[in-house]
């Protein structure tokens, strides 16, 4: 047993993250400084919805960067989770937002406003 084995594997870490917060966005960069246009778009949508969310910068954690793709079986980042469920990437977020579906999902999930 190595010292590392006391920490959960990456799937366990991701699982814990998406269950610890109502809304989690895995992204490249931070909400203030997104490092990719798709992540930037995802942040803009969440800020427009005015919901509280937890952002995970995958550029700071290579294990999560790769692990999240396997976790959701989804090839790209950003990835949005609501109440532990994978919702989609920025394209799906935008399509849902434009159709009013993302607003409905947040409301139905009882997600609190950011302020």
């Amino acid at each position: 047993m190595t010292a590392d084995s006391q920490y959960p594997d990456v799937t366990g870490r991701i699982d814990a993250l998406v269950k610890a917060h109502d809304v989690v966005l895995f992204m490249k960069g931070t909400p203030l400084f997104p490092q990719c246009g798709f992540s930037s778009r995802a942040i803009a949508i969440l800020e427009h919805l005015d919901v509280g969310f937890h952002a995970v910068d995958v550029l700071q954690d290579q294990e999560v960067r790769q692990g999240i793709k396997a976790y959701s079986d989804w090839p790209t980042i950003p990835q949005l989770y609501v109440k532990g469920e994978f919702v989609g990437g920025s394209d799906i977020m935008m399509e849902m937002f434009e159709a009013g579906e993302l607003q409905a999902l947040m409301a139905d999930s009882g997600v609190a406003a950011a302020r």
């Binding site: 246009g37 798709f38 793709k69 079986d73 989804w74 090839p75 790209t76 980042i77 994978f86 919702v87 989609g88 990437g89 394209d91 799906i92 399509e95 849902m96």
Partner: protein, 83 residues
């Protein structure tokens, strides 16, 4: 190697033959694409599953050679009965 627009369209149409694929070259560099895919095959599927079908058609290129594909999907508008 980026994936060209014609290769993207060919891959999608190979897997979803009745798909209508509309590509927009966002940056004029044959690399940053927006694809709008319309197909009856999407009928009854969630957006997530519609996008998964297209990603599967692209054979694992998404996130790799295709790092910058913006995707939208839809089911064709209902045909008029009289037409």
């Amino acid at each position: 190697m980026p994936m060209s627009g014609s290769a993207i369209e060919a891959a999608i149409r190979a897997a979803i033959p009745d798909a209508t694929v509309t590509l927009t070259d966002l940056a004029g560099d044959d690399d940053h694409w927006a694809a709008h895919v319309v197909s009856p095959a999407f009928s009854g599927l969630s957006r997530l599953r519609q996008h998964r079908l297209v990603y599967e058609a692209l054979g694992g290129q998404m996130g790799g050679a295709l790092h910058a594909l913006q995707l939208t999907t839809s089911v064709p508008a209902v045909q008029e009965v009289s037409s």
